[in-house]
């Protein structure tokens, strides 16, 4: 599990402490990843959360957007499938 935000590393550190996040929270201040994943265009139409599930080979297996992305169960389910191999 990786979180990505456009906030600075300092703000992410504070956010991680406040929420008790146990996963890496990456700082994308240059919008490098946000642009590569097309996430900025999502936000014009939807809420500001998008979740991608990427398999071991680097292929996108699942995308949740907007309010669905708040609940990670769909993403976790999709993520657990390849592990059964």
């Amino acid at each position: 599990m990786l979180g990505i935000s456009l906030d600075s590393q300092e703000r992410n550190c504070k956010f991680a402490a406040e929420t008790g996040a146990t996963f890496p929270l990456l700082s994308d201040t240059e919008k490098q990843a946000a642009k590569a994943y097309g996430v900025l265009s999502f936000t014009r139409l939807f809420a500001n959360r998008v979740t991608f599930v990427i398999d071991k080979d680097g292929i996108i297996r699942h995308i949740d957007e907007g309010s669905e992305a708040i609940d990670p169960s769909g993403a976790v389910q999709a993520c657990s499938l390849p592990r059964k191999q």
């Binding site: 956010f15 890496p24 590569a36 994943y37 265009s41 500001n48 979740t51 680097g58 996108i60 390849p82």
Partner: protein
Amino acid sequence: MPLLGTSATLKVGDRAPDFELPDQNGKVIKLADFRGKKSVILAFYIRASTPG
């Protein structure tokens, strides 16, 4: 699940673009680090420090 208005963006089955970004502790994390090892859930919080 249709993804309206996202035809120009990534879709299931596409290769995930690589990135290299610092985490909250300053450690640089690359997507390529996980390749061949682990699957990754990537959650974008566009404005983590603002409500909604």
